[in-house]
């Protein structure tokens, strides 16, 4: 359960999620301090562990930097819900065991600050604030397996 941070914007790119000026480190705690900095300087002060980002289409476009996922995870973000995702970000998120929910039209349904709960297996978003539920197509089983294992490498290491 967590709070929604809604950005009604398409093409939120990896440079906005974690600017390249901070890519001289791969320390997650350090990256977390600058999460979403070029889009919303206040984000790291507003976010609490377990919160969600809700955004428009093509979230995570741009660079292949997995640092984008690490900074979100480090900042406490539990999942990103978006109309759609850019390919490399989507793949990186799954590989890191980080939940991504593709739900077209989601920014129209959820308001900033709404309390949400996500059931990733059954494809259900519960909006506790509004008393509504929204369905989404769950990730394929192999991707859910990777997320459950805590990421691709943990799965390979088994």
């Amino acid at each position: 359960m967590g709070k929604a941070h809604v950005y009604k914007k398409d093409n939120i790119n990896t440079d906005e999620i974690i600017p390249a000026r901070f890519l001289n480190t791969d320390d997650e705690a350090e990256l977390a301090k600058h999460c979403m900095e070029d889009l919303d300087e206040e984000f790291v002060r507003k976010v609490s562990p377990g919160d969600f980002i809700v955004a428009g289409s093509d979230f995570g476009c741009g660079s292949s930097r997995e640092h984008a996922v690490w900074s979100l995870r480090g900042a406490g973000v539990a999942a990103v819900l978006a109309d759609s995702f850019a390919r490399i970000f989507y793949r990186n998120a799954i590989n890191c065991g980080f939940l991504v929910v593709e739900a077209p039209g989601i920014t129209e349904k959820i308001n900033n600050g709404d309390e949400l709960d996500i059931d990733s297996k059954n494809g259900k978003i519960t909006n506790l604030t509004k008393g509504e539920t929204y369905g989404f197509t769950p990730l394929p089983d192999f991707a859910l397996d990777i997320i459950e294992a805590g990421g691709l490498l943990n799965k390979l290491a088994k």
Binding site: D15, D26, E37, L152
Partner: protein
């Protein structure tokens, strides 16, 4: 079953006779490209899990490029981690400082890109190598770690969009203008998850350098890979550059292969393009934006830092002065030396430009030309996102080397055709 070139390469690498879009496969990897930002974390991930191994020390190509020469202490640490790992595993193709270059210019130049292969790299612009008829795509650090340790990766076979580049490029219009026009038409997610297959007579006239500018920016339309056929131009380049002279496999799309859609472009009617902030798909014809004052011109990067690009820029800057800060970044040591030998550096020096060592540098806001708040830069690079080259309030205008050079001369966005 009829297949596209992308499907044929993927089928050959997963042991299937044929594959179709949407199918999940495990593909054998021929070449892995590693650089200084995404590889050190990949190495650490493997070490933490007791998996510190490489599947084949001869199939991994390593070059620091983003922050090299080390721009600060933290990046020096990244370089040290990369260097230690390369030495420990005796990585055969390791290009340390002095031989290091911008990865996507370096790998083809040094003969690591062969048609028909599957190439992955820890960098989104790895799609560049598709210009040689290879399947090539960018990955993150976890995929990179998995590929380094196992030599395999899972893929979803992409749908393909065919881009037919008809006609002949007019004087003063370049492959950069073509790809900016393509992205402007279809949007920055217009080819999301898709293979972008480029064909047509306008391509046949282009050098490999020019073709690489197009496949380089496939990711800017959301593409998984960009790909082109092998022709005599490709073969001539490979003959000169390949270090391993053994035969390569040339694949081509079947005439009845299925495409998600076909996009036709009349290149004869294209004009120089400028992509306005803050998306590569915000392309405008130069006539619509000429006259806008700039603070800096940047000529370099994996998109346009090759010798042909520097020659084009020099042809405009010769005998003229840059009116704004102008930074020229030859992408590799070979290109740097070639530019020196051709006396292009004299031209740049006389014009008042600064010439940098090979580096990704300011393209991604690393160093060597960072923008202050409110500044505008015309740049031959591939991205103009918010804060891409510096302060979040700075702006990047993407253009060809000719347009960047002409704009340097006038200090404002300028149609290069008047100087050609």
């Amino acid at each position: 079953m009829a297949m596209t070139i992308t499907e044929k390469i993927l089928a050959a690498h997963c042991g299937e006779d044929s594959v179709k879009p949407g199918q999940l496969i495990n593909a054998r990897i021929d070449v892995i490209m590693c650089h200084d930002v995404t590889t050190p974390p990949a190495i650490a991930m493997l070490a933490e899990r007791g998996m510190d191994r490489v599947f084949d020390r001869e199939k991994i190509v390593v070059t620091p490029d983003h922050f090299q020469p080390a721009k600060d202490i933290k990046s020096a640490e990244l370089h040290r981690r990369l260097d230690t790992w390369c030495k420990k595993h005796n990585i055969k193709y390791y290009y340390p400082l002095g031989r290091a270059g911008v990865c996507h210019a370096l790998l083809p130049e040094q003969g690591h890109v062969r048609p028909g292969e599957v190439i992955v790299g820890g960098d989104s612009h790895t799609c560049t190598y598709g210009a040689f008829g290879a399947f090539s795509t960018g990955i993150g650090s976890t995929d990179l770690a998995a590929a380094i340790a196992t030599g395999e990766l899972w893929f979803r076979v992409p749908d393909t969009i065919k881009f037919v580049l008809n006609g002949k490029l007019p004087h003063g219009v370049y492959s950069k203008d073509v790809i900016l026009a393509v992205i402007t038409r279809i949007g920055t997610d217009g080819a999301r998850y898709k293979a972008m297959e480029f064909v047509g007579p306008a391509l046949a006239d282009m050098s490999m350098e020019a073709r690489m500018t197009i496949t380089n920016m496939a990711i800017e339309a959301g593409g998984k890979n960009g790909i082109m056929d092998v022709d005599d131009v490709t073969r001539a380049y490979l003959k000169e550059h390949l270090r391993d002279k053994k035969e390569y496999t040339v694949y081509a799309s079947d005439p009845d292969a299925e495409y998600e859609r076909v996009e036709e472009f009349d290149c004869s009617s294209l004009e120089p393009m400028v992509a306005l902030p803050h998306l590569p798909g915000n392309g405008k014809k130069i006539g619509e934006v000429a006259g806008m004052a700039m603070d800096q011109s940047y000529i370099g990067s994996c998109t346009n830092g090759r010798i042909e690009d520097l020659r084009i820029a020099a042809s405009i800057l010769k005998g003229r002065k840059a009116a704004i800060r102008t930074i020229v970044v030859p992408a590799t040591p070979e290109i740097w030396k070639q530019a020196l030998d051709e006396k292009l550096f004299d031209v740049f020096y006389e014009a008042g430009c600064v010439i940098s060592a090979p580096t990704c540098g300011a393209c991604l806001g690393g160093f060597m030309g960072i923008l202050a708040a409110g500044e505008k830069c015309v740049s031959t690079t591939n991205r103009n996102f918010v804060g891409r080259m510096g302060d979040p309030k700075s702006e990047v205008y993407l253009a060809s080397p000719a347009t960047a050079a002409a704009s340097a001369v006038e200090g404002k966005l300028t149609d290069p055709r008047k100087y050609l």
